[in-house]
Every structure is written in C-alpha cells, then in structure tokens.
C-alpha cells in the first residue's frame, strides 16, 4: 500500500464496499466456480449433485471428442461473424451514414423503427422473429408474393433465420454508436474534402472511416461480446435445433447443464465461452486505453 492511503485513506473508500461485495459474490465468484466445477462431475440431481467428484480434464477431453462441441463452436463463430461483425456493424454504419443525408423526418422515423426492435423485451422480439420466419409467416408471405420459393426457414435454414433475427434485433446499438461518432466529426473536414473534389464514396473511405476508426474498433468488440451471449432469441426460435443445427455455445451449455443435468460438463462449455469473452474483453480495454493516450 502506498503511504498516501493510510487507515483514514482506506476508510474513505468504504462506500465502494457494497458494490465490491456484489461484484465479488455474484460475478467474480461464479466465474471462478465455473472454472473449478468444470473439473468435476457435478450433477443437477442425484448422487453427483451431493458429492461431486474431481475428474480433472475429463470434461474437456469429452468436449474435444463430442461431435456437438466443434459444431457448436463453429456455429457460434458463424453467428457472431455474420450477425454482429458483418450484419449489425455494417448495417448500423450504413444507416448512420444515410441518416446524415436524409431528411430529418425520414431519419427520425427510421431511427425509431430500428430502435424499437432493440428496446423491446428480448422474449417479445424472439416471439416476433419466430412468427416472422415460421412456415406461413410474414417473410414467406412476402416471398410468395414475389413468386419465390418459401422454405421452412426454422427447419431448413435455422442459422440464417437466427442470424437475420439478431441483425434485426441488435443493429440499433451500432447505429447509435456510429451516429454519435459521425456527429463528432467537424463539418469543415468534409467540406474541405468536398472542395478538393472528393466524391461521396471517396470521402467515406478516406476521410470519414479513418476518422471514426476508434469507434469502429470499439463497436466491433462490443457487438461481438453482446452477440456471444445471445441465448433467448435462439432458444425461442429454434431451441438449438433441428438436431443441433443452431446450437451455439450458450445454448449448448444450458442444455448440458439443465436438460441433461450435467453441471460439470455444462460449466466446461461455459468456461470456453468465458475464455473467448475474456479475450475480447481484454482487447476492448486495450483499445480504450490506447484511445485515451
């Protein structure tokens, strides 16, 4: 302890205690418990619930041999990559850029529509998305109207359905981040480039995007982390099915722990998810620190 913080100094930090306790007990505690429990055969009920045994790396070995795990890892990467990194991020940027060129009324109305999908409780959004993608839902009605095929999305293309649903649900966040970032760009910069004869696309590529580089990186990290944790949307729409075709890591962890009662194995899956989250979390913080320098 540095000399500056004597007894009285530490006492001044007493008000931090309730927050610290909550964070330690309910966030840090479970994270450590997860890593520890993933080395045991803890069960939901029965003998293994009362007297869990230490099984070492057995759960992780099982993970590597279980054909569902690599599939679910791949589906998670696909889900995050397609719906967050590409979908939400690019669409959010496009919306924010378009809004600067549109009339105020149009951009306000569209902004409201985009934000509405984001503000709705997740279970309601999930029900709406389920109805939208169901066999005789709105999407197929539209496709039928255009004379196109009407697949049963939730059975034939479950990943496409949940990816699109998550883009619909989450784009508002990226849009708001990019709107704020674009508003921070001084108008003189764009005007100067315009004087030099730079067209719209050139200005976007060589001036606007480099200037909001920091926001792009931050946004990518945050949408990745948010999408990594998505459970309700997938659970309601497909429940991970059919035959694990849309089982991402959160769904797999839930199924193993609660449906099959294997807490030890479920926490091993959760631990992998936590590690992936930690990598992105640390990356995000490093980005922010660099931005402050």
């Amino acid at each position: 302890m540095p000399a500056r913080i004597g007894g009285r100094g530490l006492l001044r930090y007493l008000p931090v205690l309730p927050a610290l306790l909550l964070l330690l007990v309910f966030l840090a505690g479970p994270v450590f418990w997860a890593f520890q429990a993933s080395f045991t055969n803890t069960g939901l009920t029965g003998r293994n619930a009362r007297n869990p045994g230490w099984v070492g790396l057995e759960n992780y070995q099982r993970l590597l041999l279980d054909p569902v795990f690599p599939l679910s890892l791949w589906l998670t990467v696909l889900f995050v990559g397609a719906s967050a990194v590409l979908g939400q991020n690019l669409l959010g940027l496009a919306l924010a850029v378009l809004m600067r060129h549109a009339r105020r009324a149009v951009s306000a109305a569209v902004g409201t529509a985009v934000v509405a999908a984001w503000v709705l409780p997740e279970i309601v959004a999930a029900f709406a998305a389920y109805a939208y993608f169901s066999r005789d839902g709105t999407l197929n009605q539209l496709l039928g109207g255009l004379g196109m095929g009407q697949p049963d999305w939730l059975y034939s293309w479950p990943m496409a359905a949940v990816v699109l649903a998550n883009i619909w649900r989450g784009t508002a966040f990226s849009m708001l981040v990019y709107r704020a970032a674009l508003n921070d760009i001084p108008t003189e910069v764009a005007e100067a480039a315009q004087m030099d004869g730079a067209g719209g696309w050139k200005r976007l590529a060589f001036i606007t995007l480099p200037m909001i580089r920091g926001s792009i990186a931050t946004n990518l990290m945050l949408v990745t982390l948010q999408t990594l944790a998505v459970f309700t949307l997938i659970w309601v729409m497909t429940a991970g099915g059919p035959a694990n075709a849309s089982t991402t890591l959160p769904v797999l962890a839930y199924q193993e722990a609660f449906k099959f009662g294997d807490i030890g194995y479920g926490t091993a899956v959760a631990s992998v998810l936590l590690l992936i989250g930690a990598v992105f979390g640390v990356g995000y913080i490093r980005l922010l620190r660099e931005g402050k320098r």
Partner: protein, 293 residues
Amino acid sequence: MTAPARASGTALVEKAPRPRRPGNSRVSPADVALLVLGACFVLPLLWLVLASFDADAGHETRVPAALTLENFAAVITPGLLLQPLWNSLLLSAGTATATLAAAVLAAYPLSRYRSRFNTPFMYAVLLGTCLPITAIMVPVYGLFVQLELLDSMPATMLFMAATALPMAIWMTRNFMDAVPVSLEEAAWVDGASRMTALRTIVLPLMRQGLAVVFIFVFIQAWGNFFVPFVLLLSEAKQPAAVSIFSFFGQHGAVAYGQLAAFSILYSLPVLALYVVVARGAGSSFALSGAVRG
C-alpha cells in the same frame, strides 16, 4: 407509390454533393434507401400488432377481418398477466434501486479522491461489463443451490443488480465527474460530512443522470428472460418474461392473438420509459456515457 421512381430519377441527375439536410421537397436516394431499410425493421413487428387485434390469428400477417379487443380482454386476468407484470415491476424496481444505490456509493470515492487504486478498479469493473452473462448462468445456478437462494426474489434482484453494476458504476461516475467539487466545498466548510454533501448537493445536481441509469437498468431487468428463467422456479414469483414463455412457448396449442396481446401489454412500459430517456437526456448522450466510459 411513385416516390421511389422519382427519386431514382433525381439520383441520376443530381451528381453534385447535396447539403446535409436538404430543405427542398424532393425525395433523395438516401431517403428512399432509409425507408426501405426501415420497412424491413418494421415488418416483423407488423405481425405482433395485427395479430393482437385478430380473433383467430395465426402465424401469417394479415389485416384482421374484424378488429377485436378479445385477445386483450382474455389475457388481462390476475393470474395470467397482472401477477407476472407485478413481479416484473418488483424485480426491475428492486434491481434498479439496488444497482443505483451501490453505484452512487462506489462512484463517490472514485470520482472525488485521487488514488492509484482508482484506475485498476475501473478497468476491472469494465472487464465485468464484457462478461457474457449467459456463460455464468450455470455456475450462478450452482451458487444459488449451495446458498439455498434458489427461487428467492431478493437474491435474484441482487444478482441482476451485480450484472448491471459495472455499466452503472461507469455511467454514474461520469455523471458525478461533471458536478464540480467546488460546490461541495462550501458545505464542508459548514461542517457537513462527505456523505451529507453527496446527499444534499451532488445527487440533486445529477438527478437527470441518475434517472438515466435507473431507467437503463430497469429496462434491462424488465426485458431479462434468462436470469429469472433459471433462478425463479415457482410460478407465483415469475416475471412476465418467464410466464409468457411458459404459457405460450412450451405448450402445444398456442393462442397467437393472445400471445401478441400479452407481448404488447408487457412491452409498453419499457417502450414508454425509453421514450422518457431519449427525450430527457438524449439517447446518444446516455449511450456514449455507457460505451466510451
């Protein structure tokens, strides 16, 4: 609709960069693109609204043959809707109150004292915001079993408060940093303690910021499905997010009209609260506080 055709015509003619907010009455390509994207965002919500007024609604989106309030009447019963909504209110208000109290207390020393403890603590907290919460639900369940806290409303509130805390601490500290210390100094001269100064001078000045944090946490808690789904078992304690799922999501024959009506009634409070935040403090303001730290 002739607007899109006319707009694409103007797109060909108008090569020169246009001012940011065109005041003329012509529809720009940006307007058209935005409206098309906006329509895609509205479509999934259309079903929700139309089905709620349709006596025999199914998956498909259609204008009801006869508008009816039957669905709303059918779900507005104490057991089906009112008790779960009351539970949601308790859970969300309790969570938001606990979060705000802990966040304000923690933010005060972090905002007012200089110490080498501050920065590492704030970054550790920031790492907490990155935690994929769905990944720790299995260990949290295990923790709740061991502490015999399963099916306890207060314990669920505290856990939800802990998950909201990292973000809340960052936002609250930012709002508190904006209140000049010089205002408190007068109170100290008069012999007031730090905590008295916080209560009588700082908090009233950051009222609006506190409201933003409270509503932010409230909205999140209100919409949260997964946490109460795992931690609250008895039907009498379940919030609307869970009861709507167990009522409509798991049983065979689904009354879609009632599901839609329930969803709308359940969503309205948070939509209204979001409007309050967006109007009062500016959504981008609140968001930038949340995102940039």
